[in-house]
Amino acid sequence: MLLDFDKLGGLRTFLIALVVLVCVFLILPIVFIAALSFGSSQWLIFPPPSWTFKWYQDLFADPRWFYSALTSLKIAAIVTVFSVVIGFLAALGLDRGRFTGRDFLRALFLTPMILPVVVLAVALYALFLKLGLAGTTIAFVIAHLLIALPFSIISIGNALEGFDRSIEDAAILCGASPWEARLRVTVPAVSHGIFGAAVFSFLASWDEVVLAIFMASPTLQTLPVKIWTTLRQDLTPVIAAASTLLIAFTILLMIVAALFRKGRKA
């Protein structure tokens, strides 16, 4: 009874009310920030006395915001490429390999995802200080690659699990070299996993704050670091404008992902 939507009785009203409330709770801050970014109040009074594009103008007038976004984009793009390639190889090795310690290795590859990221950040910061790499793009890429890689391994690994390997064998039997077979048969067959790996790797780097705070230098900042340092000073509505653009970007990504999924079904 309790698992039949139509037979819940009075309980159903209660549960629906709760779900609506939770939805409001989840969506409220997002809508609120978007609204305030167009409000004229410096102190973020709601409802705003009047509407303005001032904060967006301020945002675009300050080249540091633009450069930090560009830095984020650059680092996320490099991380995505490395994460997908290394993740594909690792997932392939884990899927095909029959050796002892495979489960351990798999768990090891995923550990950076579950450990408190601040520990990794501090540890890497110390290492890069020693190596003289602190505050460089290389340091940023390596740090973000560590947390992006698990997403690639999981996403591509799941796709490989659903892939019938004998198709690849058939290609090899027909005269293809193993790498030819992999690139022209296996890779297209698991393309949805690779796509997922790319999206998650990109987002993992693009949105990452904690590692970025430790990897950043005054001249090399990603967008989250720029937001972080600004936030520590005051709650200026310029951040609301930046956040709104980020939210718009997220929605765009969700739509692309949904269309991609739809296209795959059809």
Binding site: F25, G93, I114, L145, L173, F214, W228, L231
Partner: protein
Amino acid sequence: MAVTIATGAVKTKREGTLGYLLPALLLIAFFFIVPVLMLLMRSVLEPEVGLQNYEALLGSTTYLRVFVNTFMVAGVVTIVSIVIGYPVAWLLAIMPEKWSRIVLAIIILSMWTNLLARTYAWMVLLQRTGVINKTLMRLGLIDQPLALVNNLVGVTIGMTYIMLPFVILPLMGVIRTIDPAILRAAALCGAGKMQCFLRVLLPLSLPGIAAGALMVFVMSLGYFVTPALLGGTSNMMLAELVAQFVQSLVNWGMGGAAALVLLVVTLALYAVQLRYFNSARGK
């Protein structure tokens, strides 16, 4: 015969799968295992060899407060997330797809929205002159604005907001696997709604609740950004302490010690989770 030769040929051509793991392995070894171990080593080597950093960390009331804050916030966030998240996951699991899709889209949107944007939103919403205080005052529920930010209340609200999706999504998956016929059977046998819930639905979804709770608890323990921004300087949590030792105090010994404590607690809870799941699967 032909088949064996053929598969043999395929096999010889496919040797060396271990090589595929090499790039990932090198990355993890040099930039994960080595630096983390080096950091932990410093906790017993700096400023001199010995356990003095751990004595200082575990023996002082200042740091004790940080531990209490951390576990209390993580505990409250976990409980609140489960209590709110369970009914939502339950309804999501059984509601018609056209509605559940909308709810899921909202959950995923909030999950994918930049963490700093979400935290910023709560900083603004919860401030003294913020919408929440204004609304409560207009409704006549309070006379003075409540202090909702720069304290653990703010941290708890902000963290619950972030953790809720991590409870709802897996729980929904677990509840979906429960056969509705079992609950129909319980009802037919005369069990009331309360009894059906307490003695059938809840026990059947317990593995999902336990897994979700443990995950949220572990994630909350090591959280840095939201506590740092919503908690203010006087209400520190463990991850902030690690960062502070290294960034502002440049005390690598203490930083390493605090990191080790955080690491040990996290790994221990993770081990509990693995064991719990393995035994659950074994049944």
